[in-house]
Symmetry: C2
Subunit: 179 residues, 2 copies
């Protein structure tokens, strides 16, 4: 929506990434966003509302990413797994920030994360005939997210696992031209 709101949320995300939840004070976030504290509170009346805005954006990013892959029409599985092991994208960045907020009182981080996990999980199940394989892909992707959360970069073995799963997924995908 508002450009300033987005800038504030970006600043919150950067601040949490750098200094953790405890370091994400209103003053620090406002300063990083180039906004006064009064200005921040004009957009987000309370700190809880600020965090809630971030979680709303997380859901939006998940839905947008999935819609993008589905309309693109190609390999959702390797797309998901690749994005899981790459902290660059908007969704991954928002998710890693959200995961750092787990346990913050007054904010339903868990709900938002479970929601966006659910969106991906449903999309993968829609694209694979084998539900157990779909869950396997989900779990591997989430394992990669966990590794990213603790700062571990993916190595060759991770890529080998991803490639192997992508191959199995292609074999288990429904015919692409079916309607």
């Amino acid at each position: 929506m508002s450009q300033t709101r987005e800038r504030i949320l970006d600043a919150l995300q950067a601040q949490v990434a750098q200094a953790g939840p405890a370091g994400a004070t209103l003053d620090a976030v406002a300063a990083r966003a180039g906004v006064s504290k009064g200005g921040l509170l004009y957009h987000f009346g309370t700190k809880e509302a600020l965090f809630a805005g971030l979680l709303e954006r997380l859901r939006a990013h998940a839905a947008a990413d999935i819609a993008g892959w589905e309309s693109g029409g190609d390999d959702l599985v390797s797309g998901y797994l690749r994005s899981s092991s790459d902290a660059g994208g908007d969704y991954t960045a928002a998710l890693l920030t959200a995961l750092r907020l787990v346990g913050t009182p007054g904010v339903d981080v868990e709900g938002a994360v479970v929601d966006s996990f659910g969106l991906w999980s449903d999309a993968l199940a829609r694209h694979l005939d084998d539900p157990v394989l779909a869950r396997l892909v989900t779990l591997v992707g989430d394992g990669l997210y966990l590794h990213a959360l603790v700062g571990a970069a993916p190595d060759d073995l991770d890529h080998a696992v991803v490639d192997g799963l992508a191959g199995r997924a292609r074999a288990a995908a429904p015919a692409p031209e079916s309607d």
Copy 2:
């Protein structure tokens, strides 16, 4: 070591689980441990030292669990996967607490988590001839941990994935009597 120290760490763990890192104040932890704030600070000179004590215990639990499985001599893979999806054990509880502390300044949570992940990963690789399969098992287990972190209980599909992997692992395990 000291009984009181352990009680304090238990209290910290419970407090983080209930109220998040922000709720883990010295007063709250001391009260929960049945110790005065002065007493807590006697054992852990600073708040950072308190968290460091928890991470030390995490590594110890990981090493102890692995040693237990290995001396027990039976299925490490299904043991690992089962413990990943069950928040009851000492190691899992300590890990979930540690994950909630990611980003806390002055405490190397990431390092401790990476260390204990590494211990498990090495153990699994030792027990499986196929390194890619070993990594696959690791990632699935860590995916289950991530789900547990956000409070999602494992369902039938999760169990199906675990069972499938355990079967593949038995086929890829080195002969048990080789020395």
